[in-house]
Each structure stands twice: as C-alpha cells, then as structure tokens.
Symmetry: none
Subunit: 238 residues, 4 copies
DNA sequence: GATGAATGAGCGTTCATTCAT
DNA sequence: TATGAATGAACGCTCATTCAT
C-alpha cells in the first residue's frame, strides 16, 4: 500500500463522518426523489466498498470497481470520499458504529442466569455480526491494521474496548452471582472473544477458498461447541 | 531488521534474528558493496520478506524494500526469485515445511494421559510456531488467501490438513482411552485449533498496534487458560 | 513532429503533418493541459507511433516518447492502446487498411495497354504509399517480423497476398493480351514488387542517414528506370 | 535502444578492430592449444552474435545469450567487447571486411562480354554473400541504421561505396564496349543493386516467417529472372 | 452535482555492465 | 584470464487522483 501524501488521518476522517451521516442528520425534511437518491450514494458506495475490500483486500480493490458496483462514476466517488484511504476508513467506521450501546442495554435488561446470557451473547453476535458482511471488517482490520495505525486505534477504541467491556460485564455478573467460577478477567475475556473473532477472520479468508469442503467449519456447530465448552469451564463444578 | 513490537515474543524472536545477522554483525568491518554469498542470499531474502509481508501485507510490500532489508539490491532479489509472487510463495512454503512428520512421531511416542498430551501440544506449538516469526504466516495467508487461490490450496494441503489430522489423532486417542468424552471430531478439532490460529493472527496484526497495552493478551496466560478450559470441557466429569 | 530527412518525399509528407497538427497549430493560444479530445487521440498517437517506430524500431521506441510526441501523457496512451504491442499492431494495421479493394477496381477499369497499366501501377503506388509515411510500415515489418509472428502473418495476408494478387492480375492481363511475353508468374511478381519494396525499406533506413548525399537514390528516377527496364524485359521483342 | 553513456564511437571501434585482428596480426608464432582457443573466442562470439542479431534484432538479443552460444560466460564477452554496442559494430564490420578488393581484381581480370560479367557478378554475390549469414548484415543495417549513425556511415563507406563503385565499373565497361546502352550511371547502379539488397533483406525477415510457403521466393529463380530482365533492358536492341 | 478523459508518481521486472574471486 | 554474482538505470504498465466539461 503506497502512502500518497494524503491529509492527516483524523481531520479527513472527521469530515467523512460528517458526510456519511449527512442524511440522518437532516431529519424531518422530505426530499425530491433525485435528492434522496443523491443522499443514498455514500451508503451504496460503502456497501460496494465493504464487499470488495473484504473479498480482495484493500490494495487489490480499485476505486473504479467500487464506483462501478455502486452504479456511479469514478469521479463521483471522490465527491464523497476524498481518497481511497478515507473510503476505507469510512467503511470500517460505518460497519461498527454504535451497536454496543444497544447491546449494553440488552445485557443490563437480561434476567436469566449467566450461562444463558453467554449463549444469548453468542447467538446475537452471530445474528447481527457473524453471519453478516460486517464480519468481514474484522478480517480487513487484521490485514491492514499495521498500515493504518490511526484506524487500528479507532478499532481498538470503538470496537475492542466496548466489546471487551461488554464481555467483562458478563463475566463479572456471572462471578458475582456465583454462576461462574472466579477468574482473571483479562484472560477470561479472550476465552469468550477469540471464538467469535476467529470465526470472522476464518470465514472471510481461508474458509472461503476451500475446494475441499471436507473439513469445513459449520459456523453454528462451531459456535455451539465453543460456547458449551466454555461454559463447562466457566461454571463451577457441583 | 525490525523487531515486531510484541511483548512476550521478543526473546525467542531475537535469537532468530541473531542467527540471521550473524555474518553481517561482525563489527568494525563494513560489508563490501558486492559480497558474493550465493548460498546465504535466499535465506536472508526470505527472512526479510517474511517480516515485511507479515507487517504490511503482500501488496504494500515493495520488492526493493525486501532487497534492502536483506542488504542487497533489487536486481539481486530477482536472481533468486523470478517474481514477487514467487518470493511470496517461497516465504509461505519455507516457513511451514515438514514439521508435521516430526510432530506425529512425538505424538505417537507420548505415553502420558491425553490431557497431558494436549497441554504438551500447546506448549510445543507455542515454542516452535506461536512465538516465532512462523506465526506470521497464518496472518499472511488470512490476508492473501483469496488473491492466491493456488497458495490457499497449498496451505490447506500442507498445513491445515496435517494439522487437523494431528489434532484428530489426539482427540481420538483421548476418546479411545476414555480420557475425553465422546464428541464430533470435526468440531472438536476447531475447539483445539482456533485458539492457536487466533493467537497467530492477532499477535501479528491488531495486537502489535496497541498503543493501549491495557487489554493486551499475554500469550502464555491466554494459551494456558484456553487449554485448561478446553480440558474442563473435554474431560468427562467424575 | 519530426521530418524524416528524405529528399523528394518531403512535400507530400508535409501535407500529412499539417493535417495532423491542425488543431494545435492555432497560434497565440496554448493548448490547455488537459484537453478532452477523445476522438482525435488515437489517430495522433498512431501517427506519432508510426514515426518513431519507423525511425528507431519497436524496441528502441519508448511509449512515453510516443505519448509526448502526440502531446499527451504516458497514461493517456494506455487509455487507447492496452499495451505497447497493441499500439504496434494498430500502427501496422491502420496504415495498410483496405486500399487494395479500391486498387483492384481501378485496375479492372483500366483500358489502356498493359505497359501503360504497369507504369500507372508504379505511379499510383508512389503517390499513395511510396512517398507517404505508410512506406515506413514495410521497413518496420522487415525489422520486427520475427519478433511478432502473428503480425507477420497478418502482413502476409492483408498486404502481401492482396498485393501479389494485384500484380499477378496485371501480368496475366498482359500475357493474355499478348502485350507481355509468357513467363512464370511467381517470379514475375517479384520482378515487379521488389523495386517498390526495396525503395520503401531503403528510404526509411540507410537512405535517411546519408551524410554523403552523393549516391542518394532519387526515388522518382529510380522508379522510372525500374519500370522502363522491366518493360523492356516483359514486352516481347518485335 | 537506450544509449548508455558509452565512449565515442570511433575510438572504441578502433580498439575493437585491433582486438578482432589480433590473431592474424601475430603470424609465425605457434601457440599452445589453450592460447589458440583463447584467440578463437572473439570469432566465436562474433559468429554467435551475428546469428542472434539477425534472427532477433539488436535490442531483443541479450548479451548473455550470445555468450552462452559461444560457450563462454557473460563476463568473458565483455573482456573482448567493451559493450553490446561495440559487439554489434564489430559484427557488422567483421562480416563485410575487405571482400571488395578481391572482387575488384576478379572484375578487372574478367575477359568475357559484359552481360556475362553481370551474370557472373550475381552468381558470385549469391555464393559468397546472398546465400550466407553475411546477407543478414544488410537486414540488420536496415533495422538499426538510424540508431547507429556512425555505423551507418561506416556501412556507406565500407560497403555501399565500394559496392556501387564495382557496379559502376561494370556498367561503364559495358557501355564503353558497346555492350550496354548508354545510361545514367547512378540510376543504373541501383537497377543492379536493388535485387540483391532486397533479397538479403527479404530472406532474413518476412520470407523466413512464411507459414504459407505458397508465394515464397526461390532465390535462385528470382536472381536469374532479375539479371536476365536487367540484361534485356541494358543490352541495346539489335 | 456528475462525468470520464487525462495525469504522473510509483512499482515490478529486465538486462547491460561491473568487479571480487 | 574467466567467471557469474551483484548492481542499478531504465522501461512498461497501473491506478488513485484531478479537473474541464
């Protein structure tokens, strides 16, 4: 990846956020069809870009291809995103924007026992992330983190920290309620996260190349086994 | 050469570097501009290429940079590898050549109980792969598998299949000896493999970006917890 | 653009150049750096490429030089021709496209005696090919035929075969009408063709280097002498 | 063709001449086998280079290939020829060195009529040049003359001028003896030369590509026809 | 705003040439 | 003297980015 002399990471990122959020930021005003279509552009570009970035990687994805898939010309893409790098950042940001607040609410509202909560956690993750295109983001970050330090930091702050916090709450809840054995939280967190992160990465890379479907992972069976095994370890013996 | 900014991995990595730099490290004598060391070159180039490919990905790594890190000119690289793609393939092949035969022998010779064997398996993996530069190959493959289908297939055949076969033997041994509970092998395999693969990927990508060492994984603690938790699930209850 | 330093050829060549430069020749207004003239570009590039290929040969001609001579950047050339080889092929094709159909009609319509027809043939060839840049194609093909077998075959089919067919018709007409002596056609064809082909090749190579204009060929005198001599041989003695 | 900063044409050319003539310049001293072999090197290299230059053109011929065909290493070639350009020049020079003196003697000694002399001239040319590798030089010069002006001048002086002089003598002899009709010498010269030059060029380029041997020139028949036709024109009518 | 023709820095690769052995 | 490993300038081609329309 060649670093063309683009502007500072944070500033352009900020402006992007603004652009990307434009159509939600102006509520309550009906627009003529053409304008609505115009405001739909960034989203279509982000969708197309996510697909292609995940499939081919950052460098191998050409902006012209993204534009074509979104049904616009190359020039139009640069109207919305000042550079390929900014497009990439916007793709990553867009696909992980504030789901955690909602999840935290759901978690706080959960009333069953902690094993059930953990199962629920995996199920919800699979439904909303693991089985969707969003899972490709993780693989993307894995491949490009070192080329985009600012983005890696963003991912840390916006995804990993909220995510680990959520998991930590689950573990602490279980321990507090005597449903999980006491344990080091930091390690426990990765016991819970690793299976999900691994699945995201694997499904979007080597698992999608298998000509030999022989040893293919069945995601559901894999997740079920992981969570059950996890619980066997977490739940204190009778 | 560049040290991956990882925490626990550095010591063993250092020893590798030391070997690779041995003949250039002689102090007080500058290496002549045109050194003739035909036999040493491919290895040095592969080392440099592994470092850079892992750090930046295939596309973002420039062959000239690889050559420079190996202390030779761009042209020299092409004396040994006909193209960047061939260099990439050689890097992948070189770093996973036939360790599995040896491991199989060690596995067959093991006489303790199966829980001990699994612990041993993790320990050996960490020592020989996880803590070495070879772990970067997994991350590399994850990032580039879709761009190099032939290589993905090679990795399937030469690494994943032997690896899964080895794990399968461990599981079957445990089940046959009544030391593990009966289970679906395919799923069980990934229960065992996922923690190792995830660690390889994570340590070489996001974990090496952390400005916030806060939630950093301690590889050893992580692996220990994983294997112990695994065993809690695998070993039948009293 | 560059004027081939040939003697008698310059006048007609000049008229060609004038046309090609027509819209840039407008004085007092510099062409904007980014002119959008999609339709005009391929032709200008082909003209520039023909000049340079003829002058320096295929390998010694750099695409950037071709682009510069056509007044565009290197990248623009690749907008119209996918590769240097394709540019070369286009140059060859462009400069010999279907003149033969027209010539055949003219030939069929000719009513004079066959000696007159042969003289006419030479005159027309000189006017439309020999004195124009198109004559450079022959020299080009001579130099590169072995490196571009497909092109050589194309030239055989599209140029040499129609050309020899035309000459054959002239000879057969003459023989049938008793105006030429009976002869082996294959050999007769090259008696007619060689002077033209030789002139094309010579004028575009060694003849254009002569610092010693001493022994320079005057194309017209040369052709006249060739055709008259030819006729002395072809026409049966009284 | 890229002009690396090589030394002045004439000076290096001179030194080459010296080298190339080295083994004839030291007569009367028997050398041990190894030394003799050493002195054979330049000739073998020139032979190999002639073959390859004619076959592939100057640019497409790699010096390593020349060396390999001559059975020496790349470095050795540069021991004898300071650059590829000098090798090229030596090839051209070597293959046209002083045959003309001998031919002039033969011509002066000829006692038959001038028509016979012209036939003889063609026959000798075919035997010593046209049917040998030396004919490839002409094609080479045609392709590269403009890239090597000094060489073109050399060819003019060393080949074309002696050649035209020889032909001029034949024509003047014929005219003086009343065996040829009076004519402009300059034009007459090319009437005689063109068939030979054309054949040299054609045989070494397009004629050697013909998958369709259909319209192939038979060199002998072609030359016979040319000379006979020529004579029909040259010889005054009864 | 939308387009797509035009740009040019950058990279992979080649190969004539050098030079330590 | 002969070798061939090493060099690095040069070139074909790509593609993110610009900008006239």
């Amino acid at each position: 990846m060649q670093h063309r002399p683009t502007s500072d990471l944070s500033s352009s990122a900020d402006s992007l956020q603004t652009v990307a959020n434009a159509d939600t930021a102006a509520p309550g005003r009906a627009r003529p069809r053409r304008a609505r279509r115009k405001n739909a552009r960034p989203g279509e570009l982000l969708d197309a870009a996510l697909d292609l970035f995940v499939e081919k990687g950052y460098a191998a994805t050409r902006v012209e291809e993204v534009a074509a898939r979104a049904g616009v010309s190359k020039g139009t893409l640069f109207l919305y995103f000042p550079s390929k790098e900014d497009l990439f950042k916007a793709v990553v940001r867009e696909n992980m924007a504030g789901r955690f607040a909602e999840w935290k609410l759901e978690l706080d509202a959960f009333e069953g026992n902690s094993a059930e909560l953990l199962r629920q956690c995996y199920a919800v993750w699979w439904e909303r992330i693991g089985s969707t295109k969003a899972s490709g983001i993780t693989k993307l970050m894995v491949g490009e983190a070192r080329n985009f330090p600012a983005l890696a930091q963003f991912y840390q702050q916006e995804v990993l920290q909220p995510g680990t916090a959520l998991v930590r709450r689950i573990l602490e809840r279980g321990i507090a309620r005597g449903e999980f054995r006491p344990m080091d939280a930091n390690t426990g967190i990765y016991l819970v996260l690793a299976p999900m992160l691994f699945l995201s990465v694997w499904q979007n890379s080597l698992a999608s190349c298998e000509p030999v479907a022989d040893a293919a992972i069945s995601p559901r069976a894999y997740l079920d086994a992981q969570v059950e095994n996890l619980l066997l370890g977490l739940v204190p013996r009778a």
